[in-house]
């Protein structure tokens, strides 16, 4: 099985006043389709930086990163945009929905950005939102929705164009534990498919149980990797 993401000796440093700080140190990692990989570790250890590099939002300093077989260092910024637009779905801690658009329209944006007609896009996002239990809130604006509902709209937006890679940064951090559980349950049900990989950054131990694999980071390095849902669950109980 081909991995969706491969990092070989990935390093990243930020230029700051008074020098550089090494944020990612020699990361080697493979992410496979059909799996939900959680990236966990203390604040500031580099989790967000790592998925930003994988998403092509940040150009890394050294090492190789392959996404869907492509060496992203060799891609132009237009090619990176296209990769993100067509193959990657995003979920953010702050939802980042467009405030002037209804749920249905928000979730349709990636399709519209991919040149699909407004009507087709609406129909697809409508179906997905209904699956996510948002059928009664299709016309509502983000400000009329609770956090958990907004995150469900965000899930629909992340999945509507059937991406091969799903990147989530702290998807439950802004939610109460009840909504967090619901969101993760829906996410695992809908997002994990044989041809898609999902990476979820979190430091919320209550949701570890949804992972197929947990990658622990510490100070820019990978500390340990736990494999298999059962193993994770056993460790917790």
């Amino acid at each position: 099985m081909q991995p969706i993401v491969v990092c070989n000796n990935l390093c990243h440093e930020f230029q700051v006043a008074g020098g550089t700080i090494q944020v990612l140190k020699d990361i080697s990692l493979e992410i496979y389709p059909g799996e939900l990989t959680m990236l966990v570790g203390p604040s500031g250890c580099g989790k967000t930086t790592l998925i930003s590099v994988i998403a092509g939002l940040l150009r890394h300093s050294a090492g190789d990163v392959f996404v869907l077989g492509k060496n992203i260092a060799k891609l132009s910024s237009m090619e990176l945009l296209k990769l993100r637009r067509e193959k990657i779905g995003f979920i953010f801690q702050q939802f980042n929905l467009l405030l002037g658009l209804s749920s249905n329209e928000n979730a349709a944006v990636p399709l519209v950005a991919n040149q699909q007609s407004w009507e087709t896009a609406q129909a697809k996002s409508n179906a997905l939102l209904t699956q996510l239990g948002m059928g009664n809130h299709l016309e509502k604006l983000p400000r009329q929705l609770s956090g958990g509902q907004q995150q469900r709209v965000a899930i629909a937006r992340a999945l509507v164009h059937d991406p091969k890679l799903l990147l989530c940064d702290e998807p439950t951090a802004s939610l109460d534990s009840q909504s967090g559980q619901t969101v993760m349950k829906l996410l695992t049900e809908l997002a994990v498919k044989p041809d898609r990989a999902a990476i979820v950054v979190t430091h919320d131990p209550r949701i570890y149980a949804f992972a197929d694999r947990v990658v622990h980071m510490e100070d820019g390095r990978i500390d340990k990797v736990e494999q298999g849902k059962e193993a994770i669950r056993l460790q917790r109980h």
Binding site: L57, L81, F92
Partner: protein, 383 residues
Amino acid sequence: MMRVAFKMLMQDTAKYLGLILGIVFATVLIAQQAGMAWSVILMSVNATTSKTEVDIWVMKPNVEFVDTPESMAEVCLSRVLSVQGVQWAVPYYTGAGMLRSVDGLFKSVSINGVDDYTLTGAPSKDQMVMGNVQDLAQPDSVLVDYIGYRKLYPKAEPKLGGEFEIGQRRCTIVGIYKSKASFSGLPMIVTRRSVAVALARETLNSMTFILVKAKPGIDHRELADRISSETQLRALSRDNFVEMNINWMIKNSGIIENFGITVAMGLVVGIVIVGQTFYMFSVENRKQFAALKAIGVSNSVILQMLLAQAIFVAVIGYAIGIGICSALFYIMNLSPDSSLVGLFLPDTVALATAVIVIVMVILSSVVSAWKVLTVDPALVFRG
């Protein structure tokens, strides 16, 4: 994505309305003031442009403006007539006088004397509201322009046969004609030149212009040049005469400066309001645009979205603004004795305002677009 752009634009209703209000304000200020300025300037040439049968205007060489002419000797007419290419040439008199109405009120009027024999330079048939131009043949008969009539008799319905004195000479109204407002705003009296000279209490030699028709096929400018060089008078084709008067107005009336200040103010206020609102839009929506970029929307599409937003509000704001402005001009013309009668919104001004407003809005939006275009999409992961 344009649909997305419009929804984003209207998400903040208060700012959206503020933006449109700013554009409306700028449009009204610019179009209204520029319209007044330009229509006042055009008023100075209304009398000239309306005499379409006249190809060339001849005057004393030192005359700079149609309302400040000088008398020419009667012999000038025969000299002009003798220039090759002249079909006909007639004398024309313009001057001013004091009108005394039956109830003893005094009013300044402008007096226009047309050729006694041909009545050339008198209003056309189409311009007549009442009466007949030919009736000028009757002794001491005059035509009065409609706006002027309303100024002279604010309460009475227009009718013929009314009498008044000018220069202690009694005259009778035999016709009322429609004309565009004049620069002086005075009621206009049209009569035969022999009568006009008497009304204005001039002595001899009262001929301020010679109106010339060129023979068919003769170039007006060339003929004007020929008349100038052969008679030592100043002869100008109608277009050049209009141009001379407009230039004189621009240079000497101070209109451009006076109105220009307000126009510039409108522009500055517009740029400030519109620019600032766009800037706030951009700053507040940075995260939303960052999310779009993360999702894979390119800068060029985002720029198109911002431009579409700008053009959209510019068109709406301009349409409302120009509507308000036309209404203002309409209201100004409602009362016949107001000094604002005759002011209007010239098409050129409406068009120029459209260009100015749209450029202003696009520029303001492009400047603040910078904030959006340079936003780092990685921002979406940061709180």
